[in-house]
């Protein structure tokens, strides 16, 4: 299979931290000439339900997606899930567990801000905060600005919210992988060289990480990624080949929150699509 094939299997809507609604992102996908895509909101499936309800027959091929934030003793991971049944119990269990951990942490932070600094919030605002799909530090920071407890969200986070480190409860990578597999989906490690966003994992460390997750049932690596250089991309694809894994391509588009263009995956830079990506596309082209 030769390029050009325009696909993008990694993007976020307002269901998590993107700025485009599912309707808006579908319009952008149509305009960008993308032939196959997936919406991968953090720890949430609502975006996929929304997209499925508005797709028409002439629209690009759509694959259900999600990006789970995971952690274990070895570090943090983002695990993408593709092609799962959103109604599958195993998927809902992972989402609900992650959401519960997140809510517990928000509550703990609010308690800390109240007891340490005397920052109080109305019950109505707390209820709205906890009703969000992905409440976290930025949302608490915005609320503090609204109450004039801090001048900016950044100050709120660095000066107050980060004042204590909570022992986080996280979904483990094997739980996310098992949930995706249980829903009939394909678990894929997102941006493998970058961990959960700030790390740099290359060489033997990356190989060891992939091998460990493959033992849990991981089926693919995001080899084409908007933030990867040629060197990193080639390293990831080589590891995917070694473990006979799928290769996926994603931009990690977040709308105006990050300056990433939809469809920017690096796939345009290669003359021939790697075998792992070809196999991945074929799985869903046949559906």
């Amino acid at each position: 299979m030769k390029t050009p094939v325009k696909v993008d299997f990694h993007m976020h809507t307002t269901v998590s931290d993107g700025t485009d609604t599912p309707e808006e992102i579908l319009n952008r996908v149509r305009q960008a000439g993308i032939s196959m895509f997936s919406v991968t909101d953090h720890d949430a499936l609502k975006g996929c339900y929304a997209i499925r309800n508005i797709l028409t027959e002439t629209d690009p091929a759509f694959i259900t997606g999600v990006e789970f934030s995971c952690k274990d003793e070895k570090g943090k991971y983002h695990i993408l899930g593709y092609g799962y049944d959103p109604d599958a119990k195993s998927m809902r269990d992972v989402v609900e567990k992650g959401h519960l951990f997140r809510i517990n942490k928000v509550r703990a932070r609010l308690d800390y801000l109240r007891t340490e600094f005397g920052f109080a919030f109305s019950e109505e605002d707390i209820r709205k905060l906890l009703a969000l799909d992905n409440p976290g530090k930025p949302h608490i920071g915005n609320m503090m600005v609204k109450y004039s407890y801090a001048e900016t969200k950044e100050i709120a986070i660095t000066h107050y919210i980060n004042g204590i480190h909570f022992r986080s409860q996280y979904v483990r990578p094997e739980e996310a992988i098992a949930g995706i597999l249980g829903g009939g989906g394909i678990p894929v490690l997102a941006h493998p060289c970058y961990g959960s966003g700030d790390q740099l994992i290359v060489g033997d460390e990356l190989d060891e990480r992939v091998k460990r997750l493959t033992d849990f049932g991981l089926k693919g690596l995001e080899g084409f990624y908007s933030g990867f250089t040629k060197k990193l991309r080639e390293q990831v694809i080589a590891i995917a080949d070694r473990y006979r894994l799928f290769v996926t391509a994603g931009s990690d588009y977040h709308g105006s929150n990050k300056m990433v263009a939809l469809g920017d995956t690096g796939l345009d830079d290669v003359p021939v699509i790697p075998d792992g990506l070809r196999r991945f596309i074929e799985v869903f082209a046949e559906v």
């Binding site: 950044e154 986070i157 941006h191 700030d198 908007s226 933030g227 040629k230 300056m259 920017d264």
Partner: protein, 412 residues
């Protein structure tokens, strides 16, 4: 043009916490300017996470004429590891070292050697493209090290300034606690000369016994032929032709040659001998290294013996004795006739190198007396010597060279 770059300063750190804000600020500064060349000034940047790397890549996609300057060691390492240095112009922030605080150990072609701190040596590169030369030397040193030659690899590159603070070049720094050059040892501890001879010849043999995979290093024979070509206007036609002919007859070989093997480039660190200054590392026949050693120890100083003190730190007679003893140890013979024959052949290579270096501007300080002396000596040798081949005789310590039968021409 340097001033056409839009310069944007990066602050302390870029990570997932501030990368969106940093990116927005950068685009604000570039707003309305079109696709201009961009210089990111990273002198204040202490740390960059992968969120920062993604920012750089996005910016590069929008502004391909982008460079990042003043990068510290840690950030440079990350940019190298991730492949950014393969497509992005990245200029390191170099530590500045003043020669005021260094002790000169000796000069070498295109530079000089200094003791920087008690445990460091500084090899200064002057002239054009010093950074390229330093990088080339690092690569050559790694090749030698991988093939088993004990080699000092530079650990840092610094900008070198004089006592007034004016830039004089760039230097490679070698962390070598207690290391002393053979020049220093021969000058200060004459009783150590036996050991110096043995180690010097032993290292030469070890290197010449090392075979280099094809294509990794330049061929010294080609270099010598280029040097001889430079002398064709200087020598009578017949002599010039004979010189080329003698060099062409030297068998090709894949044995490692140093190319600038002399007493300042060999260090003794505790009980270990280390080679430095590997930028002329090549392959070919050992006669080329012997010729170069003669040039450094004897030829260079023949018309002005005081040069030896200034160049090698020891007197001319010490250099002459050292050369003869090294040659005997290397060839495994004390036979004066054989040594004389080998020396004459090495001298042809040595004088060719010195004369071509002077004609080509590598040794601008060579005076007319030296040029005349080298020319006359070379002409005399070309009239009496019919081969440039030297056979290293097998020696008892097992470090004998393994030449093909074609290469094994004995000295008669």
């Amino acid at each position: 043009m340097a001033d056409s770059f839009v310069k944007i300063a990066l602050e302390e750190r870029i990570d997932s916490f501030n990368s969106i804000k940093v990116e927005k600020n950068i685009y604000r500064e570039l707003d309305g300017k079109g696709v201009v060349p961009v210089e990111l000034d990273a002198r204040q940047l202490r740390y960059i996470s992968s969120a920062g790397l993604r920012l750089l890549l996005r910016l590069y996609k929008s502004y391909p004429a982008m460079k990042i300057t003043g990068v510290n060691d840690e950030v440079y390492h990350i940019l190298t590891l991730t492949g950014f240095t393969e497509f992005l112009t990245v200029e390191k922030a170099y530590r500045v070292v003043s020669l005021e605080n260094c002790k000169a150990i000796g000069r070498c072609a295109g530079g000089a050697l200094y003791r920087l701190l008690p445990d460091s040596l500084l090899r200064l590169c002057r002239g054009s493209d010093p950074l390229d030369r330093i990088e080339h030397e690092r690569k050559a040193a790694r090749i030698a090290l991988v093939l088993g030659i004990p080699t000092a690899i530079s650990c840092d590159v610094v900008k070198v300034v004089d006592a007034e603070g004016s830039g004089v070049g760039f230097g490679a720094v070698y962390q070598l606690p207690d290391a002393r050059s053979f020049s220093e040892i021969l000058a200060e501890q004459p009783d150590q000369s036996d050991r110096c001879v043995s180690e010097f010849a032993g290292m030469l043999k070890q290197m010449h016994a090392t075979e280099v995979p094809p294509g990794r290093l330049p061929d010294m024979k080609e270099t010598a032929l280029r040097q001889a070509a430079l002398l064709q206007n200087l020598l009578p036609e017949e002599a010039g032709g004979k010189l080329l002919s003698l060099l062409r007859e030297v068998p090709d070989g894949n044995h490692m040659l140093h190319g600038d093997f002399h007493t300042k480039n060999l260090l003794l660190q505790k009980d270990s001998v280390l080679l430095t200054d590997m930028d002329t590392l090549s392959v070919g026949h050992p006669v080329f290294d012997l010729g170069q050693i003669y040039a450094a120890l004897i030829g260079w100083c023949e018309s002005d013996p005081g040069q030896s003190e200034r160049w090698q730190c020891f007197d001319f007679e010490t250099g002459r004795q050292f050369w003869r003893r090294v040659l005997a140890a290397f060839l495994g013979t004390d036979d004066p006739q054989k040594l004389k024959a080998a020396e004459d052949r090495a001298r042809i290579i040595g004088y060719t190198r010195l004369l071509s270096g002077s004609v080509g501007g590598i040794y601008p300080e060579a005076d007319q007396t030296s040029l005349d002396g080298w020319t006359n000596a070379l002409l005399q040798l070309l009239g009496s010597v019919d081969s440039c081949l030297i056979n290293p005789f097998p020696v008892s310590d097992g470090a004998a060279l393994s030449f093909s039968p074609e290469e094994a021409h004995c000295i008669q």
